[in-house]
Amino acid sequence: MMANNFVVALAVLTLSGGALAQDDEADGGTGQALYEANCAACHQYDGGGVPMMQPELILSPKANGDVGEVIDMILLGSAAVPAGMSEYSNEMPAFDYLSDEDIALIASYVRTHFDNTGGAVTAADVSERRALHSGE
């Protein structure tokens, strides 16, 4: 419950803070709504993933790790994982077309739910990772 409130609070902060969402459709979406629209089909609504196919997000090392780890998965998809290093057979597309704000909301939702305690990330974190990957 606290975690949910936290995400809502984060969403309100992000939007009221004047940050412009680049993706109109996703405006105002909370982390959970964005997760369910973009991620839940494969990673499941409970974050349980699919054995052998799509990783579970519950107690996920990435979601409890460095700020950039979940962001990188969203920005790059499977390409974030070195070839031959994945135990999962499905491929994840890049969601780099989502706005920094939306990616921050999704990453924060994943990092503060599904028994993860990695903590929230910001749109600035996403922007930084995006710049890093594009070689800027």
Binding site: E36, A40, D46, G48, G49, E91
Partner: protein, 425 residues
């Protein structure tokens, strides 16, 4: 008048339930506490082996040894040989083999044990007992290293050929992989080297894909593949595409996506086209449907691809197909098909479904002769399954022993193989 009468008669024939004499699982029957599953009347099961790892396709030898491919190495081995030496229905010998490998296919042909990894198919002389020894002989090598649908299940005809599933490393041949609204590539270039069944010489070492013949195309992924020895033809059940609602929410609701597309069961003759990625099957509409990546809207039909023999419910994930070859089963089951469904993941937020083994009654010509029934059920252990990880077991492989026993594998909960026998009780 005559035409109208004929039409009415035809409609009646289509609507009337076919008369299969085969009884399926009693839906109200309890799951066996001992085995965790329930079976069609007249059959009983034992837990043949437990904790063997990520069990997938299997093969059983004349001497009763059962060979199981493991999709994740177990203590470093990609396969295990199992044997029940005292006849109590439980394997008491367990010999790992295929060290350092990952098994995605297993079969026996012409005195050899065949085993596939994603990138190659190999064989050993079938041992008199236990695991095969020595270096395997490489039959086909160099399949491209892909992740999606890269498993290589296979089967054999009676004329020295091996038929290998080369799944499409794609969901629906989208220009941008699994991305909302992306159109499909047209023509789909993936079909050149993937998305079909290729035929090779089963006895020639050192082949590459270029030595094979593309036997059939338009097949997204056929984990369930077997030669029907009664009809002398190849049969497959293929996994339909995922995520119609995610990528095309204007045309498909969550309910639509839970139902669509059908999982298709086909007879596959040489040159057959099963329609992927251009078309799919909606069981409620005649013919095939145009895929939304190619301009479809959930209502437009397509003339690309043959119609399936059976359209099974969406996302059930057929993972193995087996035609029995012994005479141990009741007469009306000896020519039919068993299909192991791994169970769905892409029905969320609706309940997942399909964690079962079904039986399709068929005649000697390989035609479906009655309604399919559920042969074994209860694997998931809870109903409804909302998230696939909660399914206790998920059927993955099938094999028939020399005594007519049917082996069913599952890769969940540490991996298990059941032995199912018919005793008529």
């Amino acid at each position: 008048m005559k035409l109208q009468l004929l039409a009415v008669l035809m409609m009646g024939a289509a609507l009337a339930p076919a008369h299969a004499d085969v009884m399926g699982v009693d839906e109200n029957a309890p799951v066996s506490e001992e085995t965790g599953i329930k079976l069609a009347p007249g059959f009983r099961a034992t837990v043949f082996a437990d904790g063997i790892g990520s069990a997938r396709h299997m093969a059983a030898a004349e001497n009763g040894w059962v060979y199981v491919a493991l999709m994740k190495p177990q203590d470093g081995f990609g396969a295990v040989a199992l044997h029940d030496s005292n006849g109590d229905g439980v394997a008491d010998e367990r010999v790992p083999f295929a060290e350092g490998m990952i098994g995605t296919g297993m079969g026996i042909n012409n005195g050899f044990l065949y085993y596939a990894e994603d990138e190659r198919v190999m064989r050993w002389p079938l041992p008199e007992a236990g695991a095969p020894k020595g270096e395997p002989e490489m039959i086909i090598e160099g399949f491209p290293n892909k992740r999606q649908h890269s498993a290589k299940p296979f089967t054999f005809d009676a004329d020295g050929h091996i038929y290998v599933n080369i799944g499409a490393p794609s969901n629906a041949c989208m220009e941008k992989m699994r991305t909302k609204g992306s159109p499909g590539m047209d023509p789909c270039p993936i079909l050149e080297d993937f998305g079909g069944v290729w035929r090779f010489d089963a006895n020639k070492a050192g082949q590459t894909q270029a030595d094979g013949v593309r036997y059939a195309t338009g097949i997204r992924n056929a984990m369930a593949i077997d030669w029907n020895p009664h009809a002398g033809a190849l049969y497959i059940a293929q996994h339909g595409r995922d995520q119609l609602n995610t990528f095309f929410p204007d045309y498909f609701t969550d309910e639509d996506n839970a139902r669509l597309p059908a999982e298709e069961f086909h007879r596959v003759d040489e040159g057959a086209n099963l329609g992927w990625p251009y078309s799919y099957v909606d069981p409620e509409i005649e013919g095939r449907m145009k895929m939304p990546e190619y301009g479809g809207d959930g209502k437009m039909t397509s003339d690309i691809g043959q119609s399936p023999l059976i359209a099974f419910p969406g996302h059930w994930a057929p993972n193995d197909l087996m035609f029995p070859r012994t005479a141990a089963l009741p007469d009306d089951m000896q020519q039919g098909a068993f299909i192991a469904f791994h169970g769905s993941w892409n029905r969320a937020p609706k309940p997942q479904a399909g964690y079962r083994v079904v039986f399709v009654p068929m005649n000697a010509n390989g035609e479906v002769s009655g309604d399919w029934v559920t042969f074994a059920d209860g694997f998931a252990g809870e109903e409804p399954v909302m998230s696939p990880r909660n399914a206790k077991h998920r059927p993955t492989g099938l094999a028939e022993g020399p005594d007519g026993a049917i082996y069913i594998s599952s890769l969940m909960s540490g991996g298990r193989v059941w032995k199912v026998v018919y005793d008529g009780k």
